[in-house]
Symmetry: C2
C-alpha cells in the first residue's frame, strides 16, 4: 500500500466536511484522488456512496467534477446528484456536457429543478433543450415561469435581453426607506434571489435612480428614496453582451437596470454574469489570435480536428502563395544557397513582430484604449517602433551574416530585407485589426492569417528581390 | 464650416447633461470630438470651460480622457478636475498616467482626495508615490487612514492582502436582524462605502457565516443572524490574486471575507476588483502568447521597443539555430531547389499547429479545465489530433507537390515531414505548458518560443533528413 492510498482510507471520509476538505485542493481545484473516489463508487454501483460524495460539494464543484468524468461515468453519476444541488449545477456546465446531462433527466425532474433558478438561468438551461424536450419541460412548469422563459428566449442571443433576469426590486420614488423594507419583508417571494440595488421608478416604470441595498440599510426609515437615490447607468435590452461587459467594467457596476425601447424597466443584469462573459470574450480573442476554433472542453478528437484543420489548410494555401516568390527566383537560390538558409530567419522574425503588434492592437481595441480618437497617433507610433526594431535587428543579423559568410553584400541584403519585413509587419499588424473593426468584423479573427501571410511573403520576396538587385 | 463643426457649437453644450450626452458615444466610448473640445479649451487656457467639461463626466470617463490626452495636455487639464471627482479618478488610471498625475498634485490635495476612498484604493494610489511624496501624503492623513494604508502595503503585491479593503460589516451571531440594521444606521461612518454581505463572526472574530444584505432586508427583525446566515468561502490573506479571481469566478461570489493565519477576519474583497484582475491576467496571457512585453497604454516609442526587442532578438537566435540544419544540408538544397521552396511551408504549418495547441492548453490551464486529474487523457487526445491533422494535411500538400513537380518521392518527402512536424507541434504544444506549470512557471510566457523553435527546426530538419534518405 502506498502512502497515497492511505489518504484514501474511506473510513476517514465519513462527514461532509471531511469529504469537502479532501475534494478541494489548496487552490480550490478538484483533487484527482477525489475524482478517483467517485469513479470507484460508480464502478462499484454504490449509489449511496455517490450521493454522499456529491452531497458534500458546492454545486460549482459538482459541475467541475462533471468536466473531469468521461461521458460514461457522467451517466452513472448524474442520477445521484442531490435534487436541490442539480438546479444550480446546470447553469455552470459547459454546453456539450450540459446537453448530455439534460438528456439523462426526465422532463418533470428538470422542470422542478428549474424552479429554483432566476429567469436568466432558467432560460440558459432551456435554450439548450431539443424542441420536444423543451415543450415537455415548459409544459411542466408554472405559467409565470414559462412566460418569463419564453420572453427571455425571444431576445437575440448575446444581447442584454438574454443575460438579464426579469426579477427586479423596484420601488416608486415617493416611498420611504421604512416602507421599502416593509414591502420587501412582506413580498419576499416576488424578489430576485439576490439583489444589490433597488431601482427607483417613476409612474411610467422608468428607472430614475438606484439605491444600493447597503445604503438603504443605513439610511433613516423616514428618508424618501428620491432623496437617497443615485443616478443609474441603464442598459438597452438589445445591447450586445460585449458592450454590456464593457459598461460594467468601466463603471465598476454590481448590477444595472435593463430597459426596453420606451425606457421602461424590464429586468436587471448582475456582475456575476458579466464575469463569465468577460472570460468568454477573452477566450475567443486568445483562440482567434492563435487561429483555432473553440471545440469546447469535452470535444471528441474529430471535433477538435474540425476546429483546427480549416485554419491549418488555409495556412497551407497562403504559405504556398508566399513561397511562390522562391519558386520564381529558384535560379538565384541555386546560385547562392545561403539565401535559402537566411530567408526563413527574415520571415520568422517578421512574423513574430507582426504577431506582437497584432496582439497589442487587438487588446487595445477590445479595451477601447484604441479608438478613432487616437488611431492616427497609435499607427504612427507603431510605424516608428517597427522602423527602430527593424534597424536594430538588421544590424544584429547583418553582423552575424557577415561573420559567418564573409560577404558584405549578403549581409546588406538580409539586413535591408529584415527592415522591410519588420516595417511591413508593424504596418500590417496595426492596420489590419483597425480596418477589420471599422468594417464591423472581429479584428481578432481574420487579422492573424493576413499578417502571417504578409510577413512570410515579404520575408522571401524582400530577400530575393534585394539579392537580385545588389548581390547577383 | 463643415457639418461636423456645427455639432461642436458650444452654445448647445451648456448643461452637464448635454455635455455628458455629447461626450459618450452610443457604445459608451469617449467621443473624439469631445476630446477635441477639451484640447481646444486647454489651448485657449479657458479653465472654467475645462472645469465645466470635466464636471459633467463620470470619474471613469475622466480617467479614460486622461488616456487619450498627450502628457502635455494632461498637465493642463489635471488642475481642473473637480476635487470630489479626483479621488475616484486616481484608482482608475493606468500606472504610467497615474504617476504623472500624482506628480502634478500637491501632497495636501492628494491626502484630502484620498480620504474619500476605501483602504484598498488608497493603498493602490499611495504605493505608486515616490518615497518622499509618500511620506508627505501619509503625514497629511488622519492616523487611522495612515495605519490602514501601511498595513495594506505590508502584504506582498498581487496577494489578497493587497486587494482587500479593511472596512467590513461584521456582526456577532447572536444579534438579530433588527439589532444589526439599527447598528448600521448609527455607525454609518465606520462602514465600507458599499457592501454586499454582512459577515457573522464568533467571539474570536472568525467568520462563521455571511448574510447577503438583500437577505437581511427581507428577514423578520426578530430573526437571529445565526439562523439566516449561509456558509462563507474564506480567502487567505496571502493567497495569490489569480487564485482569488478563480475562487470568485467559480463560486460566483460578490464579496468574500479575508482571513489571517489564525482565521481572524481582517478585510473583504469585492467582485469589482476581481473584474480588473481577470482582465489583467487575460491581458498577460494574450501578450505572453504573442511574445510581447506589456509596455502600457501611454508608453513612449523607446518603451515599446524595449518591450518587444528582447523577444525578437531571442527569436532571431533560435531561428538561426533552427536553420542551421539547412546550412548543414546545403549541397542537397543546391541539388533540389524545390526543397528550399517546400521547407518553409512545412515549418509554417507546423508552427501554426503548435500555436493552436498551445493557446488551447494555456487557456485550459488558466481555467483549471486541465489539471493533473485529466492531463494524461488530454495529452493523449492532442497526440491523436496531431496525427490526424498531420495525415490529412500531408495528403493535401503531397498531392499539390506532385501536381507541381511531378515527383512522387518529393511529394512523399514533404508529406512525411509534415506529419512529423505536426506531431511534434502537438506534443510540444501540450507538454511545454503542462511542464512549465508543474515547475511553477507561467505556462504562457516561455512556451511559445520553445514551440516555435521546435516546429521551425523540425520543419527544416525533417524535410532535409527525409530527402537525404529517400530522395537523393
Amino acid at each position: 500500500m502506498t502512502p497515497q492510498a492511505d489518504t484514501l482510507d474511506e473510513s476517514r471520509l465519513d462527514s461532509p466536511e471531511a469529504i469537502e476538505d479532501f475534494a478541494l485542493q489548496e487552490d480550490y481545484a478538484l483533487n484527482p484522488e477525489y475524482v478517483e473516489l467517485v469513479i470507484d463508487a460508480a464502478d462499484a454501483g454504490d449509489g449511496m456512496r455517490l450521493r454522499e460524495l456529491l452531497d458534500a460539494l458546492h454545486p460549482a464543484d459538482v459541475a467541475d467534477l462533471m468536466g473531469f468524468l468521461s461521458s460514461q461515468y457522467r451517466a452513472q453519476v448524474v442520477p445521484w446528484i442531490p435534487p436541490d444541488t442539480l438546479a444550480e449545477v446546470l447553469p455552470e456546465l459547459d454546453d456539450r456536457i450540459r446537453d448530455q446531462v439534460l438528456d439523462l433527466l426526465p422532463p418533470d425532474a428538470l422542470a422542478e429543478a428549474l424552479q429554483e433558478l432566476d429567469s436568466d438561468e432558467q432560460a440558459a438551461v432551456v435554450e439548450d433543450l431539443d424542441e420536444d424536450e423543451r415543450k415537455a419541460v415548459l409544459a411542466a412548469m408554472p405559467e409565470v415561469d414559462r412566460a418569463a422563459i419564453e420572453t427571455t428566449l425571444s431576445y437575440p442571443e448575446e444581447t442584454a435581453g438574454r443575460l438579464m433576469q426579469r426579477e427586479v426590486m423596484a420601488a416608486p420614488q415617493f416611498w420611504t426607506v421604512g416602507q421599502t423594507i416593509d414591502h420587501m419583508r412582506s413580498h419576499n417571494d416576488d424578489l430576485p434571489e439576490l439583489f444589490f440595488d433597488i431601482y427607483v421608478v417613476d409612474p411610467a416604470f422608468k428607472a430614475v435612480g438606484a439605491v444600493a441595498v447597503s445604503n438603504l440599510l443605513r439610511s433613516k426609515r423616514e428618508a424618501k428614496l428620491s432623496e437617497i437615490m443615485e443616478p443609474v447607468t441603464e442598459i438597452a435590452v438589445d445591447l450586445d453582451q460585449e458592450e454590456v461587459a464593457y459598461i460594467f467594467e468601466k463603471y465598476r457596476l454590481i448590477s444595472a437596470p435593463v430597459v426596453d425601447d420606451g425606457g421602461r424597466l424590464v429586468g436587471q443584469i448582475t456582475v456575476d454574469d458579466i464575469v463569465n462573459i468577460i472570460q468568454e470574450e477573452n477566450r475567443e480573442d486568445i483562440l482567434a489570435l492563435a487561429q483555432v476554433g473553440d471545440a469546447g472542453r469535452d470535444a471528441s478528437i474529430w471535433g477538435i480536428v474540425k476546429s483546427r484543420l480549416p485554419w491549418l489548410s488555409l495556412n497551407l494555401v497562403t504559405e504556398t502563395i508566399a513561397v511562390s516568390s522562391i519558386a520564381i527566383f529558384q535560379d538565384e537560390v541555386a546560385k547562392v544557397v545561403a539565401l535559402a538558409v537566411l530567408m526563413p530567419i527574415v520571415s520568422s522574425v517578421g512574423g513574430n513582430a507582426g504577431t506582437q503588434t497584432l496582439a497589442v492592437a487587438v487588446r487595445a481595441l477590445a479595451s477601447r484604449e484604441l479608438t478613432s480618437a487616437n488611431a492616427k497617433r497609435i499607427v504612427g507610433r507603431e510605424v516608428c517602433v517597427g522602423l527602430m526594431n527593424g534597424v536594430l535587428l538588421a544590424l544584429m543579423m547583418g553582423a552575424a551574416t557577415f561573420a559567418f559568410y564573409h560577404n558584405v553584400r549578403l549581409a546588406i541584403t538580409v539586413g535591408l530585407a529584415l527592415i522591410a519585413n519588420i516595417f511591413a509587419a508593424a504596418l500590417g499588424g496595426i492596420l489590419a485589426p483597425i480596418l477589420l473593426e471599422r468594417i464591423g468584423r472581429d479584428p481578432a479573427v481574420s487579422s492573424p492569417i493576413l499578417v502571417t501571410f504578409l510577413t512570410d511573403f515579404m520575408g522571401f520576396f524582400a530577400v530575393l528581390a534585394i539579392a537580385a538587385l545588389i548581390l547577383l
